[in-house]
Symmetry: C2
Subunit: 432 residues, 2 copies
């Protein structure tokens, strides 16, 4: 054959997970899954391919077409490889709206595809933890979501020197802008759009745009001042605002839960003008090299309404990806040697001992819930030991003809290099 | 808004996993993952999108195009949503051929897409357990793979009345056909093709085709006899065959491991003429309603050679999907009530007790590793109990103003309906 060889590289922006990579991912998602289950969140999932329409309905034709992998099937259905989980979960909630047990506390860890150029912290394929509460309008759900977000980092022993939750409220944002600018609803919306672009446009343009909308130097200074205010001082600027009250309730409850040290009020958190309606937050890594938000989330209203009439199910939640999480854990040195613990036994073999003697040892070890394998193949003893070391085995069991006749086994601990001779029937007890 | 409502149904041939469905899938894949890790298999994974070329190289242009979801990206790359895992794992092995620790014992549980009409046991999206050993040519790897397949069903308490592993050997198949038919290599290949179609064509056509290839009634009867022969009798028909020896070694080792009751020699197992090269097997459900093979697998040579020159890494493995597994478990009544065990506590709330009293209780429970949640929302007590029952909580904690003043909590066991009053500081101890 002289066929051309195929490339061994994965598709651009995607990753292969060799066993060490997979063990790491399983380790951190395992901890996250347990923490979420501890907090009574239930896991769901949906298909990898979805109707493109659900992304168009949420984000518009252009974004849905440009930023997803999409194609038309033979039945003429426009499909997308899911770029996010929110439309899927809204579809699931809508599909059983009359049977579900609200408020729902749901999570998922799907893989997602976005069609954009890969960069640090953002790849084309990633795995994303999605956490949501549906069907509870009060700040208690916001509190539960934010305290859960904090708990998911604390399970890795992250502390408040490593990350902070930056919190704002979209309702408060609208109200305080209207109060300062003295604008009507439409005017406030235009002001909000300028403020949303604050960090993306030069300061002169920012000021000029606000002045065009009728704000003077004094009002612009008042808005500037919000960025360094405490939540109490900021809320005092529009005490009648429902959003201000929500912020105060939320911060008070966070204080009572002992979570104050992890949380800051941050007027700069807006997160998409059209989607979020109440609490919004981002978790920021304190390390300067990871300067993107690690996660973001907040309260959004009635996505479920895209699927069922006359319904109003609000949601509050957040999502974060494996790439940013891993960057965070690596940066703060929070990943232990996941191979340094636990017993995993390789039973080495010699050709002059019947193979069934070895498979019987392995059967006994596995029956005793001890990870184990016989060496498969016919390499020399030294090579078998190399295989055990490279394969992260903790122990090797050695039985040649002389041990077999004497009814004993040698057990070598590859970490301490100690060697023990034990009676063959005491094998399981040795590892107990 | 009068926009048209979106459908709540998942894409044809795919499934939504509501929490109860997901809990079931996590339960059975969790047991499988633990069993595979116990046997020292390591998990890997790869991306959902792969170059279409790797499927074309394995299965040909027509099958790859017809049976996969494929499309071209903006860079002109032809991509497929992965329909199977074998080309991916061959790519991974090839990519680190010089660094990997052979023999590899690897597994994966990916979701896969095939473009075909859904039918019982076969959907467009399914999850598939893939188990492979790479880099060991001897029957010991075949033994390990088959005994692992059996162990994956035994973890569900399946016994030999429920399933059987039907085993054949492709090398033996070729040799015994040549021995009986007296044909040369090319002639034997043609005979094999007819036999491969045995169950799909009328008996007369089968006989006529074999006669055309030079086989008389006697030879056809000899081939017929193979289907009901013991492995010893069958192997005796061509004792010089390497395949016959492999079969004898394998069955002898299965006997020594006490696995004989699960295994039968079955000359009817062929599994694709061009792909498998040695041991082939299928696990068949003994229940007549599940008459498809639950899993299939065997030894295949050098898929890795599609990616790297001058290499020869053989593999032996199997794959099976969540749909067939679930059908098997349901048919044989092997799924326990996965919600009947374990503690999960709902802390009910009254509006006249400070909310922080409840969140503190939940914090304590979670710190003691007890699944718990405060009721989020403001429904009446009876509705909160309904929520707990429907949400599979095992206990509710009740604290009104009188309990708060007395420093006690009421704990109701929702399964036994017993109610206990405990001192507030004995909460964790109650569940210990």
């Amino acid at each position: 054959m002289c066929a051309q060889l195929l490339s061994t590289r994965p598709y651009k922006g995607t990753r292969d997970f060799y066993p060490a990579d997979m063990a790491l991912r399983n380790w951190f998602f395992g901890k996250i899954r347990r923490a979420l289950e501890l907090a009574s969140f239930e896991e769901y999932n949906g298909p990898m391919l979805e109707s493109l329409d659900i992304y168009i309905a949420k984000s518009g034709e252009e974004i849905a077409n440009e930023q997803t992998y999409n194609f038309t099937d033979r039945g003429g259905r426009r499909l997308a490889v899911r770029p996010e989980m929110t439309p899927t979960v809204a579809r699931l909630v809508a599909g059983r709206i009359n049977d579900l047990n609200f408020p729902l506390k749901w999570f998922s860890i799907p893989n997602l595809y976005r069609y954009e150029n890969p960069q640090r912290g953002r790849l084309r394929e990633h795995w994303q933890v999605n956490v949501d509460i549906f069907g509870c309008d009060s700040y208690e759900a916001d509190l539960e979501v934010i305290s859960t977000a904090i708990s998911l980092l604390k399970v890795f022993n992250a502390d408040s020197s490593m990350f902070k939750v930056h919190i704002n409220n979209r309702r408060f944002f609208n109200d305080v802008i209207a109060a300062i600018a003295g604008t009507d609803a439409e005017g406030s919306r235009k002001v909000s759009k300028v403020i949303d672009r604050k960090n993306k446009i030069p300061r002169e343009v920012y000021e000029k745009d606000l002045k065009t909308l009728g704000l003077d130097e004094d009002k612009i200074a008042k808005i500037d001042a919000l960025y360094s205010m405490s939540v109490t001082d900021a809320a005092a600027l529009c005490p009648e605002s429902k959003g201000a009250q929500e912020l105060l309730d939320l911060f008070s409850a966070l204080r009572e839960l002992g979570l104050e040290e992890y949380c800051v009020f941050d007027f700069g958190i807006i997160r998409g003008l059209d989607y979020y309606t109440g609490t919004v937050f981002e978790v920021l890594d304190e390390a300067p090299e990871n300067n993107r938000a690690m996660f973001g989330g907040g309260r959004y209203d009635n996505l479920v309404g895209l699927f069922v009439k006359n319904t109003n199910v609000s949601g509050v939640g957040f999502g974060f990806g494996d790439v940013t999480l891993e960057n965070f854990l690596v940066t703060h040195n929070l990943i232990p040697d996941i191979y340094a613990e636990g017993v995993k036994v390789l039973v080495t073999k010699f050709d002059d001992v019947p193979y069934s003697e070895y498979t019987n040892i392995v059967s006994r070890l596995r029956a005793a819930d001890i990870k184990s394998s016989v060496y498969i193949g016919s390499k020399k003893f030294g090579k078998q030991i190399d295989y055990a070391v490279k394969g992260n085995y903790s122990h090797v069991v050695i039985m040649g003809t002389s041990e077999l006749e004497a009814g004993v086994l040698k057990i070598k601990d590859l970490r301490t290099r100690e060697e023990h001779t034990v009676e063959a029937d005491k094998l399981e007890a040795f590892f107990a």
